[in-house]
């Protein structure tokens, strides 16, 4: 690649505060010692770089950094909001979405707990709904006990997936300690409340630890029974079939990678839970506002209720009924 063959440069993102000396190798610029940065310290595109010279991964990184800088951060998981708040957002948009929102509200799903759109939303939503259901259980001691023993029973599967115990133990402990605190007071003598549950899920370290634990559990479940998932392991971008190892590493264990059918089924199976997902996708050919629910049934107990999530293309939130809470 020679300098002369290059087309004219596009407008620059930022031209001040850049180093005068431009390294020869364009692709090194991102890694150079003192690149110009955003306030947060993320490097931006240096002056003599053409955006077309960037590697896809660098473009991705730049895009993420730009997004992070420009969008005020939403909490990892939010306070419960009335369905009418969601409705207002679609007021000037699609009529089919509005009809579907009204359908859900009429069906009793009158509130939603939103999660940040960071690719971890499915795992975070399930984890939150899972712990919250234990918290509101009519017999918390019993519910907590059986949840913990189910989690305990997945240990051989995690070891079987050849994850380092010292790596997953911390993540797992974060989840089990939180669940335990529903019935057993912590060091400060406190048990879990709806507020401290929300706090734990808004605090990045504990929230992300739990997300990672669920990702590892999902991956371990897929690895433990490859035949059950073979044929369904696809690259979400181009639908190419993937090897199990690649799928698990890149689309289950990696942070920020969205969950799809396979991951949802595997996690529901590993935790022995039922997960019900409402598809708010604007697909409503009869214009009656009907919403399709997809259920993943893996609980042993036939009376077990489902954790209910709301799906909008590319994103999951927790769906709720205010009547089912205190």
């Amino acid at each position: 690649m020679t300098q002369t063959s290059r087309p004219p440069s596009p407008p620059r993102l930022k031209t001040t505060g850049l180093p005068d000396d431009q390294p020869e190798d364009d692709h090194d610029v991102f890694m150079s010692e003192q690149p110009a940065t955003f306030l947060s310290g993320h490097p931006i595109l240096p002056e003599d770089m053409d955006i077309r010279d960037l590697m896809p991964s660098q473009l991705y990184e730049m895009n993420q950094n730009l997004l992070n800088e420009s969008v005020p951060q939403k909490p990892l998981i939010d306070e419960l909001a009335s369905m009418s708040v969601l409705r207002e957002e679609y007021e000037h948009g699609s009529a089919s979405f509005l009809r579907q929102i009204d359908y859900l509200t009429k069906d009793g799903y009158d509130c939603v707990r939103r999660t940040r759109g960071d690719g971890d939303c499915f795992y975070r939503s399930v984890a939150y709904a899972f712990v919250e259901r234990l918290l509101y259980s009519p017999d918390p001691t019993m519910a907590v006990g059986s949840a913990l023993s189910q989690i305990e029973s997945t240990l051989p599967m995690l070891t079987g997936a050849r994850f380092d115990p010292f790596v997953y133990e911390d993540f797992m402990e974060c989840f089990t300690t939180l669940i335990q605190s529903i019935v057993v007071p912590d060091r400060e003598g406190l048990t879990l409340t709806p507020q401290s549950l929300l706090d734990a899920f808004q605090q990045p370290e504990s929230s992300n630890s739990i997300v990672v634990y669920l990702r590892l559990l999902t991956s371990a479940q897929i690895r433990a029974d490859p035949d059950a998932y073979a044929g369904f392991l696809h690259d979400p971008d181009n639908y190419m079939e993937l090897q199990l190892e690649t799928f698990c590493q890149h689309y289950v264990e990696a942070v920020g990678k969205e969950a799809d059918h396979v991951q949802i089924a595997a996690l529901s199976r590993a935790l022995k839970i039922n997960v019900k997902i409402a598809y708010l996708d604007g697909r409503d050919p009869q214009e009656v506002g009907k919403v399709d629910f997809h259920e993943f049934i893996f609980a042993d107990d036939t009376t077990s209720s489902s954790l209910v999530l709301l799906y909008r293309p590319g994103h999951y939130d927790v769906l709720g009924r205010s009547s089912s809470r205190i």
Binding site: D25, H27, Y60, F166, E253
Partner: protein, 220 residues
């Protein structure tokens, strides 16, 4: 103790206790968040016999964000910048998972040396060299292993100053005859090496580049 420190301490201990992997992690100063990793070059590759060092920075939100790694030792490889040591590897970017450790990431770097990905290069010139002539690329990579990574037949331990015996033509992966040819017309040797390297004047590609084209570049 905060979670990041606890995790890093466990990782360092785990690596120390594992004698089978040949991966080493050492402190650079007092900070447990700035480390130096090292491993031997993989067998049956041009990196065999070399000792490769990697600069490791543990970011604030580790292990939820990827560890930052770059080669300290100069490496001639399509996915490693020959100038800065920056590495193009998916797990160091958007395929990072908190299940990965310093040790497993260093092992991935070691396997990256076994299997270059010229279609996703970090160093475009090295990648072109690789795709033009694998044999010539490997010769250069082996030479770099000798002079920078203490590889076999190397000069690092010969007692002489490396600068005195270093062959700039071999470092650039070029043929001495080609460099001599343009130097003889009156161009400065360093400039000839630079231009021929940039033009990828190697192997079958030599036939595609006219002398006029080279001279035109040399006159710039």
């Amino acid at each position: 103790m905060d979670a990041r420190l606890r995790r890093v301490n466990k990782e360092i201990t785990d690596c120390k206790n594992d004698k089978s992997s040949n991966i080493k992690i050492d402190l650079i100063d007092e900070s447990p968040f700035h480390l130096k990793g090292s491993f031997p070059g993989p067998q049956d590759t041009p990196y065999e016999g070399g000792h490769f060092e990697v600069d490791i920075v543990i970011p604030e939100s580790y292990p939820f964000q990827p560890v930052k790694m770059k080669f300290i030792t100069k490496v001639y490889h399509p996915n490693v910048s020959s100038a800065s040591g920056a590495i193009c590897l998916d797990i160091l970017k958007d395929a990072w998972s908190p299940v990965l450790t310093l040790k497993s990431t260093l092992i991935s770097l070691q396997s990256l040396l076994c299997s270059p990905e010229p279609n996703d290069p970090q160093d475009a010139e090295v990648a072109k060299h690789f795709t033009t002539s694998k044999r010539s690329f490997e010769e250069t990579a082996r030479y770099w292993t000798q002079i920078y990574a203490g590889g076999p037949g190397g000069i690092a331990k010969s007692g002489k100053s490396p600068e005195a015996v270093r062959d700039d033509v071999a470092i650039a992966g070029l043929e001495k005859a080609h460099v001599d040819q343009f130097e003889a017309i009156g161009f400065e040797r360093g400039k000839v090496i630079d231009v021929l390297r940039r033009l990828n004047y190697r192997g079958a590609n030599v036939a595609n580049i006219s002398e006029d084209r080279v001279v035109e570049e040399l006159l710039k």
